[in-house]
């Protein structure tokens, strides 16, 4: 590999600015505590470090388990090319969730406590265990890529032997904790705005996680095809988009039934911030659901990408609504994240993009294309070298 001085590009400048502000925010967090680095309060104990870094982070990494089911359980081989990127996304995603937790926990060095101090009645306890175990599973699911890279055939054969129970375990763990992130909020029935509080929050979280997992896979395929200059697996992504449209429709239908049965539609007549944010969240799910049912849109890379981005933002809007907006009225206070909260969150996202780019450039993630495009990739000086998903 040739050593080059990094060129200053707009994306690199943005990346540097984000990381620098994140480092300063980290300094504030370490030396001035949560009080000096966040706008949290006794009445509003959870902010975007929980709602975005942890809850969205875990959800956005849901592509791996969905694709494992499709590729290995249902044995639909055509989806194979996107499986590895999804596993890598998920593994990085969970690592970054842990990084986010280190910021948010009051005593991060006690992160391991739930593993020895048990409370099986706690949803948080279940989430802690599932996330720990599933991160391990993801690591093992990613290991074959490393073994392949270094030609380690013996461990490769060994890990293939345990791969089926491993995959089933991973899917079960994902099912449990993706839904449990919704169950976390079941305990605040009177605090959460009724547009969001529902006894079926775990089901809603689970189904929307599957949707966003597929959307994220399309999103990162599109980005990596641009960065690594490889061909987009368009027929595959189009077929995935059709599955996505079905999952989104199912989600919206469950949502509709839920709101109807709880008789809360009339809340939408009130001119409140909750109404508008609810509308935004639903629109960002409904529009792509409708669009992706149309074949011409699925076959157009740009439109397909736009739909995936909408789903991702719709998902984020939903989690932020449940985790922050929906709890404001009930807790009798207002919460706007402090700049340092935003800086840390953006830094984590930026580092995720950068790490994915580095690992995908080094390891055989895109198996189908890595050989023919290998040479082109090493010469590439794309300007969005950092903003790669």
């Amino acid at each position: 590999m040739k050593l080059r001085l990094p060129k200053i590009t707009i994306w690199r400048a943005i990346f540097a600015a984000i990381v620098l502000s994140g480092l300063y925010a980290t300094y504030l967090r370490v030396f001035y505590g949560l009080g000096g680095s966040t706008n949290l309060s006794d009445k509003f104990p959870w902010g975007i470090w929980v709602a975005f870094d942890v809850i969205c982070g875990v959800g956005l990494a849901a592509g791996a388990f969905t694709l494992v089911v499709i590729v290995h359980i249902f044995a639909i081989d055509s989806y194979k090319p996107v499986l590895r990127p999804a596993i890598l996304t998920a593994f990085l995603g969970y690592l970054l969730v842990v990084v986010g937790l280190m910021y948010d926990l009051g005593r991060p060095y006690r992160l391991w406590h739930p593993l020895v101090m048990w409370n099986p009645h706690s949803v948080m306890f279940e989430v802690a265990w599932c996330v720990t175990l599933y991160s391990t599973v993801l690591f093992l699911e990613f290991l074959p890529v490393v073994f392949e890279k270094f030609g380690l055939h013996k461990p490769l054969a060994w890990i293939h032997r345990i791969s089926v129970p491993l995959m089933i375990l991973g899917v079960l763990l994902s099912t449990l904790h993706q839904s449990s992130l919704g169950s976390l909020f079941l305990i605040v029935p009177e605090k959460m705005y009724p547009l969001w509080y529902s006894p079926i929050l775990p089901l809603l979280f689970y189904v929307s996680a599957i949707a966003v997992g597929l959307a994220m896979t399309i999103f990162e395929s599109w980005h990596s095809s641009r960065t690594f200059g490889r061909a987009l697996e368009l027929p595959l992504l189009a077929s995935m988009a059709r599955v996505l449209a079905v999952v989104l429709s199912a989600y919206l239908w469950i949502r509709f039934l839920d709101l109807t049965h709880r008789h809360v539609w009339d809340l939408l007549l009130r001119n409140r911030i909750e109404t508008w944010l609810f509308a935004l969240e639903i629109a960002l799910m409904l529009v792509p659901a409708v669009l992706l049912f149309q074949a011409p849109i699925r076959r157009s890379p740009g439109k397909l990408y736009a739909c995936a981005v909408m789903v991702v933002f719709g998902f984020i809007a939903n989690r932020l609504n449940v985790g922050t907006t929906g709890l404001e009225a009930g807790s009798g206070t207002h919460y706007v994240p402090k700049w340092s909260e935003v800086a840390v969150t953006l830094s984590i996202v930026a580092c995720g993009f950068a790490a994915f780019r580095m690992i995908a450039g080094y390891f055989p993630i895109f198996e189908a294309h890595s050989h023919e495009d290998g040479r082109r990739e090493s010469e590439k000086t794309e300007e969005d070298s950092v903003s790669v998903g």
Binding site: V30, L34, R107, R110, H121, V164
Partner: protein
């Protein structure tokens, strides 16, 4: 027998002796500035509130089935058989789920510390275990805050209402209808929301809301693993058969 605190808003004169007694018990600073704060915080675990010409008291309700104890991932909160809900700071990881879960917004956090802990009233568990009264009840000059056996306090509260029905709002806050009951009971001259108590809390104990889902976990795992394993076996078998038939031809 479980213990409790009965706070009678109609007798309280707002002298805040309970506040200073509590601060002393916890070794927290107490001065005019702190006395002026009418809300709970990490340095003030009970607060007297003024609602017009009436007073009310805020402190941990020490719920019969506490949401904080069910929410805490490391079991730092325990409901003792004596009544108090105690907190073991040496376990706490600082996830603040207890604060989110508490329907009364009682647990507070040491936001300004580098290594913070949760703070809340524990109904003087240590004192009560030793047969003493809670610090607040001991110093209360009028008997507005009374500490004793929960059943006896409920009986006494009923008697007070029956004795002077025109002076009391005809209900006791905390027996059963507030998240399944609390170990701090309230009497008032006016409906409870007028002295700042929460009347919109669910009747059922909050741990039920999450346990309903958590208890399905074995079902999800057993059904899920059989289902996934079964589907895998069928698809894999089909591929195997196809491979063998392909070889033979």
């Amino acid at each position: 027998m479980p213990r409790a605190i009965l706070y009678d808003s109609t007798i309280c004169i707002g002298c805040k002796a309970c506040e200073s007694g509590c601060a002393e018990r916890w070794g927290l600073p107490y001065n005019d500035r702190v006395a002026g704060e009418e809300y709970l915080s990490a340095h003030k675990l009970t607060a007297i509130q003024t609602h017009g010409d009436r007073f009310s008291r805020r402190l941990c309700m020490n719920c019969v089935q506490p949401a904080c104890a069910s929410a805490c991932p490391v079991g730092a909160f325990q409901k003792t058989s004596l009544g108090p809900v105690v907190y073991d700071g040496s376990k706490c990881i600082g996830c603040r789920y207890c604060m989110q879960a508490c329907p009364f917004q009682v647990p507070t956090y040491e936001w300004s510390k580098r290594l913070p802990l949760v703070r809340k009233c524990d109904m003087c568990y240590a004192r009560q275990s030793a047969g003493k009264l809670t610090a607040c009840a001991e110093v209360c000059p009028t008997g507005a805050t009374k500490n004793g056996d929960r059943d006896e306090l409920i009986a006494e509260a009923r008697q007070r209402i029956a004795g002077k029905p025109d002076q009391y709002y005809n209900r006791i806050y905390g027996i059963k209808k507030e998240v399944g009951g609390t170990s701090v009971l309230f009497l008032s001259a006016v409906p409870f929301e007028q002295i700042g108590l929460r009347t919109n809390v669910p009747q059922e104990p909050l741990p039920e809301t999450t346990w309903r889902v958590l208890e399905l976990l074995p079902d999800v795992v057993s059904t899920g693993s059989v289902l996934l394993g079964g589907i895998w076996w069928i698809t894999n078998r089909r591929a195997e058969v196809a491979r063998k038939e392909g070889k033979r031809q």
